[in-house]
Amino acid sequence: MMAGRTFGAKLAAGFGLTLALTLLMTATSALTLRYVLVTKDKVVEIASSSLTEAQTLSALMERRIGDYRSFLLADTPAALATVGQDRANFLNQLSRVRDTLDDDEAVKLLDTVAATESQHNARLDELIAKRQKIKSLTDTSQLKVEGMKQAREAVLSAIDNLIKRIKKVVAETRKESSDRATMAIIFLIGIGLLLIASAAGVAWRLSRDLRREVGAAVGHIQSSSSELEAAAAQQASGGRDQASAMSEITTTISELLITSRQIADSAQRVSKVAEDTADAARTGDATIDQTRASINAIRSQVDQIVQHMLSLGEKSQQIGTVVDLVSELAEQTNILAINATIEASGAGEWGRRFAVVAEEIRKLADRTAGSAKEIRTLIDDVRGAVNTTVMATEIGAKAVDAGSRQFDDATNSFRRIAQLVATTSDATREIELSTKQQTTAVEQVNSAASDTARASRETEASAVQTKQTAAHLSTLSGDLLDLVGTRGH
């Protein structure tokens, strides 16, 4: 139920429980005392009122007996008045006794007293009347009334019985009251035992929790102290290693510094070379422009060649047409010569001589036709050559175009190289600058490394101190465990 609460809360709960039980016991005691008081008051009341009144009744009866005897002796009016007054007092007292009674049997006895008193009063009235008749009393026997004595005895007896009864009631009430007081005492003792038991339980529980929890915590502190001690030892050795490593680092950084300076020198040289290369690239750019102009001139001349070739082809075709005309003329001449021969063969001697001329004409026509055929062949050759030349020239033009494009590519590449060289130059200058900055930074790192080495030595010293403190803490934990009483927990 208390698990998980703080120890302070447990203490508060224990004391709260004890306090509550104490309050309960205080209240119970007050109530019990009050009860006993009421019971005793009742006993005292019965004793003081009922018994006193009853005994007063008895005294009044005795006084009345005395008074009416004195009347019987003197027979004076005063005495008679006293007798009457006595009866009134007695009846009055009787009613007061009735008021105080709450016991049924006592009330019955009181009724008996009243009944016997009224019988006795009747006898007494007889006696009084008898006495008033007597002028001179010489002998008491004159006053003899039958049953007077028995009536008086009965009244007294009844009063005694009442008193006895009331005494008995008082005794019973006292006994009952005492019993109740005893019961209350026993109850209070029980409550007190319960309180003691619960207080003892709370104390035991608190003690146990204190031992268990504080002991456990202190145990943890002790083990943690040991671990801390070990860690401090490790830290001390680590600090030593670190210090030696830092000195190695310092040495390496010094070497790095030297290398850095060498890199800066090399970068400066590379920057110079890059600038020279950029100059050469600018010179190459002018050469490229000249070459481009030459290529364009070649291109236009190739175009002119193609035009001339095409014109030559056209002219060849026209020559061919003329040659066809010549061929046609030769053929017609040939036909005419043949027909002339045919005609001449039928014209006798003159015809034969004409036939010779016609044959000559025919031979000329044949030769003309042959020459025309040769010209035709030559023209075809020329046209084929022209076509081949045009094709070759166009291929050449395409090659020039391709060369021009490739030259453009080469130019672009060259310009790109020039740009890259410029970029390289910039980058090299940046490298130079960066290397100088790096050298400065390395120098700073060197001093920082020295600082770090010093800090490592300080760390080692503080670790040794921490170790001592942890050992001290461990001893303190053991002492605290002894105090709590869970040594060896």
Binding site: E331, N334, I335, A337, I338, N339, T341, I342, E343, S345, R352, R353, A355, V356, E359, E360, R362, L364, D366, R367
Partner: protein, 178 residues
């Protein structure tokens, strides 16, 4: 090339000049004038003496009739001449229209059409492999001549005329045929 052409011109001029210096020649019996021609893709020869004229590209008006060899009618110097396809007459008709036309000598007038003219040649009479005239009918061909390594059958115009007449249903006497 130019030198050879110049030489040819020179030689031509000399030949031409020499022809005027030569004595007058006569076409005697030992020479035969021939027309080398092509009909239906085959080489033939034809005696020039048996022709009356050679004409290229003459318009021929087609004539309806049952003879496939009859191409139609053509006009020559006011005369209407029937034109026959020589190739069809020789038995191997060709689909193409013949370009050349030769007029047969004699009457009635007859035109023979053929496809190609190879030229006009004069050969020695011995070069012609002759046949006997009465050796029996062998169609229109009479003899053979070798020209430039090619043997050409010689088409006999009178025999051809006789064949045409036979096809046309005419009956001719031997004299009329000559």
């Amino acid at each position: 090339m130019t030198a050879s052409v110049a030489g040819r011109i020179e030689r031509l001029r000399q030949d031409f000049d020499r022809s005027f210096a030569e004595p007058v020649r006569r076409h005697d019996e030992e020479h035969v004038e021939l027309l080398a021609l092509r009909a239906g893709g085959r080489p033939y020869a034809l005696r020039l003496a048996q022709t009356a004229g050679l004409h290229p590209d003459r318009p021929v008006t087609p004539l309806p009739g049952p003879l496939p060899a009859l191409l139609g009618l053509a006009g020559f110097a006011g005369t209407v001449v029937p034109v026959y396809d020589l190739a069809a007459l020789l038995g191997h008709p060709d689909g193409e229209n013949p370009r050349w036309l030769v007029l047969a000598s004699g009457s009635p007038p007859l035109g023979l059409a053929f496809h190609g003219l190879d030229g006009h040649v004069r050969v020695m009479a011995e070069a012609i492999v002759g046949e006997e005239a009465n050796e029996g009918s062998r169609g229109c061909l009479r003899g053979m001549v070798g020209l430039d390594g090619v043997s050409r059958p010689i088409v006999d115009v009178p025999a051809t005329r006789a064949l045409v007449h036979a096809l046309a249903g005419h009956v001719l006497t031997e004299e009329a045929g000559r």
